[in-house]
């Protein structure tokens, strides 16, 4: 493995997949949170995020 970070430039994403299968997202933005929703929909933060988005959508309608 190269000893250099993947996330070097401003705007780069960084997702790490650890040996034990854990997925780590570094400084998630909206786009990474959407990825998280796809791969870990049961994660408490993701669940709350989805619920909040739904509420926002309803209140905007």
């Amino acid at each position: 493995m190269k000893n250099k970070p993947y996330k070097q430039q401003q705007g780069d994403f960084e997702i790490r997949i650890l040996k034990n299968g854990r997925v780590v997202m570094i400084t998630p933005d909206d786009a990474l949170m959407e990825v998280a929703q796809r791969i870990a929909p049961e994660n408490p933060v993701v669940l709350y995020q989805m619920e909040t988005k739904d509420n926002a959508r309803k209140s905007a309608e």
């Binding site: 000893n3 250099k4 970070p5 993947y6 996330k7 070097q8 430039q9 401003q10 780069d12 790490r16 650890l18 854990r22 780590v24 570094i26 400084t27 998630p28 933005d29 909206d30 949170m33 933060v45 709350y48 995020q49 909040t52 509420n55 926002a56 209140s59 905007a60």
Partner: protein, 273 residues
């Protein structure tokens, strides 16, 4: 606080960055003329990320995070270092547009506006401009490393609803190596004590794997002695930098997290999620 009072503080903030003394680095440079000090900022404010996030402490969520570029620490394990080491590469913030975005997000049910970075303290001049355009009832979170001079607290007191105050290391040696700030602790402890009298506070400690005796325990003992009622947030989301020179190379495991929680509870601290 009225907009007129904020404008008065804005003048003081402008004065402070003419010969910048916002933080203990005391660079003394004139940021209004584009001179660069340790944080690398001029007199403009730059935002590299704004989003609604639900991973903050429960009382803050959903929280509207506004990340400003530029920082006065150089934490080796910083997860947004690429934004903070070259802050001027980020586009200047359109303050009026951001004020509109904040109002929009508030209307959609966001609970708090979360000012973070980088470090908000070194962006205090631009932050005051932004706050002058917001409705006073909006709940403002100061999500800071707390490494700043009294002038920043003077400028911000009364404008902050919740201090989300970091305390990172428990001794000067670790602070010197990991944060490039040997004088970190004395400053941060003073600021936390002062800010605790000015608003609601959550003290946040990111647990560094293997730093239980040198960092975690001294920090928690100090809190138990000085601010035993304070809300404590123990964060277990440390991510090792690549490469890591001084920083831990492992992620925190559940045993070490649990030991930290047990220690905090045994000395009477109140942990919040």
């Amino acid at each position: 606080m009225s907009h007129k009072q904020i404008f008065a503080r804005l003048k003081s903030a402008e004065k402070a960055i003419h010969k910048c003394n916002l933080c203990p680095r005391r660079c003394g440079i004139d940021r209004t003329r584009g001179e660069k000090g340790y944080c690398g900022l001029d007199d403009n404010i730059r935002c590299f990320l704004e989003m609604v996030y639900c991973g903050e402490e429960e009382q803050l969520n959903p929280s509207h995070q506004i990340h400003f570029s530029g920082c006065n620490l150089r934490c080796e394990y910083c997860v947004s270092a690429e934004w903070n080491r070259q802050p001027l590469r980020v586009k200047e913030l359109d303050i009026d547009k951001m004020a509109e975005t904040i109002a929009l997000r508030q209307n959609k049910g966001v609970k708090t506006v979360n000012l973070l970075g980088g470090e908000p303290a070194v962006n205090v001049y631009g932050i005051l401009k932004l706050l002058s355009r917001l409705k006073p009832e909006i709940k403002v979170v100061w999500n800071s490393n707390m490494f700043y001079n009294d002038v920043v607290e003077d400028l911000m007191s009364g404008l902050i609803d919740i201090y989300l105050a970091d305390i990172k290391c428990g001794n000067s040696e670790c602070a010197g190596k990991l944060l490039q700030a040997e004088n970190y602790l004395v400053t941060v402890k003073r600021n936390i004590l002062r800010a605790a009298g000015n608003g609601d506070m959550i003290v946040r400690h990111l647990i560094l794997p293997g730093h239980s005796e040198c960092c975690l325990k001294p920090v928690l003992r100090w809190l138990a002695e000085e601010l035993h009622e304070v809300k404590l947030s123990l964060r277990g989301n440390y991510a090792p930098p690549i490469p890591a020179i001084y920083s831990p190379t492992e992620y925190l495991d559940t045993d070490e997290m649990q030991r930290a929680i047990d220690f905090a509870e045994n000395i009477g601290l109140r942990i919040v999620k």
